[in-house]
Amino acid sequence: MRLLRDLLRTPEGAIGLGILAALALVALFAPVLSPGDPLRIAGRALLPPFTDPAFPLGTDRLGRDVLAGILHGTRTSLAVGLAAALAAIAIGLCVGLTAGFAGGLIDEGLMRVVDAFQIVPSFLLALAFVSVIGASVPVVVLAIALGAWADPARLTRAQVLSIRERDYVASARVIGMHPAEIAFREILPNALPPVLALSAIIVAAAILTEAALSFLGLGDPNVVTWGSMIAEGRNILRSSPSLSIFPGIALVITVIGVYLFSEGLTKAFAGRRLEP
């Protein structure tokens, strides 16, 4: 709670949280706001925006409601972004914790694997992964997580390396606590905050990666995503630019929201550490 208060005290945090909360509400209530399949052919094709009250943002090439697509696209974008970030951080934490705590050969081995994943551009990795296995939401999530887990792993390891030399860890060792217990109860909670601050960045990157994959036709074709909407609109960019612009704006707002939130979070953490 105190963290939330600190967060809201920074302007970035307040705005970011506001945007994210609004997006979460839209995602949650998308089926209420626009019932039915958003890919349904609902009206005349290529209605311009702001002309028909039934389709405030107009319709696309096949007559699908653009507003419905954007509302439902929020779900896909947020769900994929959060799931991918969660998976990446979970993997990163486990690997970083193991490497940092175990040290020696295990550390060396795990860190070389991390190196390998950091060398390959994460987007290319996702691209290759999806095109080999086939596009569906779980595959896309996994593909994005694969390219994003290395950073949290490194950060966690660095944290663990410094924390494990602290006195309270030494004393826990002396009283005979099991190593796993020390790792999860003493070290992990203290190594977590900086990794969480990084998580917001990962979410933003994941949302963009998902949009880029969909744009290239490697998203799940059975759900509506902003990336695929932009890709479809691109074919007729010259005559109906609104089809690409609206989902583009949605994407920009989301990423800015996540970014501001992460800025606020970093500041809130920093503020806490400065206070005695």
């Binding site: 094709a45 096949l62 007559g63 036709g217 059975n222």
Partner: protein, 534 residues
């Protein structure tokens, strides 16, 4: 240089140099020599040999390098213009056809072209390996070569000369015997590094970037080719083709590479022409391929329901923006010689479709769906992909949940035509002037797995197979036409596949490109007389 002296300016300069270096190759192509045509290509076939894969994606590039015996023509005798053959004559019993071949033709590697090459191509490639040739030349027994410029095709059963003539431009690409003999034809390197007799040589291929075709100085045609070079720039991004034309980065975009929605606008741009001629012999058909191994789809009522669920008017007006016609059956309307309108048709009627599915015993479940299907739209055209999106919605309206699977061309072809990993697929087969060439293969049984653009849905109908076999050896034209009318009736009744619409393509070119669309298969002909006005 130390880090301290690394100023923002030096960084910007370095960055600028880097950017410029990545942009260089494009500039090199765009400026280039005067007599070079740059055309947009949208696909890179993995096998470029037109003698094995007779499809337009291959012909578009390969037809400039490897030539057929004859090409389609607007005003030539029998609708043909001679290429490697100068004349052809059939015997009265339909069992032999004699080709006189052109003299003084050389392969790109300098070896002379002879009747032995034709005999080798026919017996070892067209007949056993080619997707279309294996039907046209099914009864080819031997090719006699009494001299270097005569090839006599001998058939075990009567084969109509009319069929051979209609098929020549498509099935008769001749490849050099001396490069293929004694090798594994399917994996021969010449399938990618083509060697032919055509007006252009394939000199360079950079995957994902371009194909470079250069002038064949030894070409048999007098004063041809008129171009020094053709570059097929790979522009898989269809929205990019229109912009590239306007920016004069390319001069030609065939096969509707410029999206239909962009035509109205681009036709008004000065210096650019929009041409709908030149595709008369290549009518594309929008077809739903059905996997009859799937229990539900083996039921005629389900197939009828799917046919009733499709609003063809919407498909023509919205997806094709009117640049298409609704289909009634497997033969398109612009083949009046064979076309028969008196076949069963399926009006757009969702209620009837639902009733048919109920009758077939597939009731709607609690969530409103009856069963799920895997739907694979072919990636070759915007329209096939958009029709995939539409079909998914049309099927949802009758309680069938279709899951779309997108894949690139190679993966799509493997999944559908080799692995049979589909329930419904959307394909754009081509009607090539005679049902025996590329239409009957879509429904005939007994085609081995792996043959692209053929019946890989496991459909088998003895009566239909019988008619196809009989028509293939009926020499009399009217009797043969009558058989194909029966064929259309059976296909429209039994629905081994569902024909939705048929369309031709649009070429968009700069005004400087001359002699565009001067034959009915222009985009896939050899472009020897195509020129650039400077």
């Amino acid at each position: 240089m130390t880090i301290a002296t690394l100023s923002r300016r030096t960084l910007l300069q370095a960055g600028g140099t880097l950017l410029a270096s990545t942009a260089l190759p494009t500039f090199a192509i765009a400026q280039g020599a005067g007599n070079r045509l740059i055309a947009a290509a949208d696909s890179e076939p993995k096998n470029l040999n037109p003698a094995i894969v007779a499809s337009n994606g291959v012909f578009f590039i390969a037809s400039k390098v490897v030539e057929p015996l004859a090409e389609a023509s607007f005003d030539g005798k029998d609708g043909l213009a001679p290429r490697l053959a100068t004349s052809w004559e059939g015997s009265a019993d339909g069992k032999s056809v004699t080709f006189k071949l052109r003299e003084g033709v050389k392969w790109h590697d300098g070896k002379p072209f002879t009747s032995a090459d034709v005999a080798y191509s026919a017996l070892n490639i067209w007949k056993p390996l080619q997707n279309l040739g294996r039907l046209v030349f099914a009864n080819l027994e031997a090719v006699d070569t009494p001299d270097a410029t005569t090839a006599v095709f001998k058939f075990s059963k009567p084969t109509p000369l009319q069929l051979i003539r209609n098929a020549l431009p498509v099935v008769s690409s001749v490849v050099p015997k001396h490069l293929y003999e004694g090798t594994d034809i399917a994996t021969n390197p010449a399938n990618v590094k083509l060697v032919g007799t055509g007006p252009f040589k394939l000199t360079e291929y950079k995957p994902g970037e371009y194909y470079r075709l250069t002038r064949n100085a030894d070409y048999w045609g007098k004063g041809e080719p008129k171009l020094d070079e053709i570059i097929f720039r790979v522009l898989p991004d269809r929205a990019g083709a229109g912009a590239a034309l306007e920016a004069e980065e390319i001069q030609l975009a065939a096969f509707s590479a410029v999206p239909l929605t962009d035509l109205a606008r681009i036709s008004k741009v000065p210096g650019i022409k929009v041409i709908s001629k030149g595709y008369e012999a290549l009518t594309y058909q929008l077809v739903i391929e059905i996997n009859h191994r799937r229990k539900e789809l083996a039921d005629l009522k389900v197939r009828q329901a799917i046919a009733h669920a499709i609003d063809k008017k919407f498909v023509v007006d919205t997806i094709f923006l009117g640049y298409a016609t609704a289909s009634t059956g497997p033969v398109p309307k612009n083949a009046p010689e064979f076309y028969d309108a008196s076949v069963p048709t399926y009006a757009f009627d969702t209620a009837k479709a639902n009733a048919l599915l109920d009758e077939a015993g597939y009731k709607k479940g609690a969530n409103g769906t009856r069963f799920s299907l895997k739907l694979r739209p072919a990636p070759y055209f915007n329209e096939t992909k958009q029709f995939g999106d539409y079909l998914r919605q049309a099927l949802a309206a009758i309680g069938i949940d279709a899951q779309l699977i997108n894949a690139d061309s190679a993966a799509h072809q493997k999944a559908v035509y080799t692995d049979h990993d589909f329930d419904l697929a959307i394909g754009p087969p081509v009607f090539r002037g005679d049902p025996a060439i590329s239409t009957t293969i879509l429904v005939r049984s007994g085609i081995p797995a792996g043959v692209p653009f053929s019946n890989q849905g496991g459909y088998e109908n003895k009566e239909l197979d019988g008619i196809i076999a009989k028509a293939a050896e009926t020499v009399d034209t009217s009797a043969r036409t009558e058989l194909y009318k029966q064929f259309q009736k059976i296909v429209a009744t039994d629905l081994p596949l569902i024909n939705v619409a048929e369309w031709g393509f649009i070429t968009v070119a700069r005004d400087t490109v001359q002699n565009v669309s001067n034959n009915p298969r222009w985009a896939v002909s050899n472009w020897s007389d195509t020129a650039l006005k400077s």
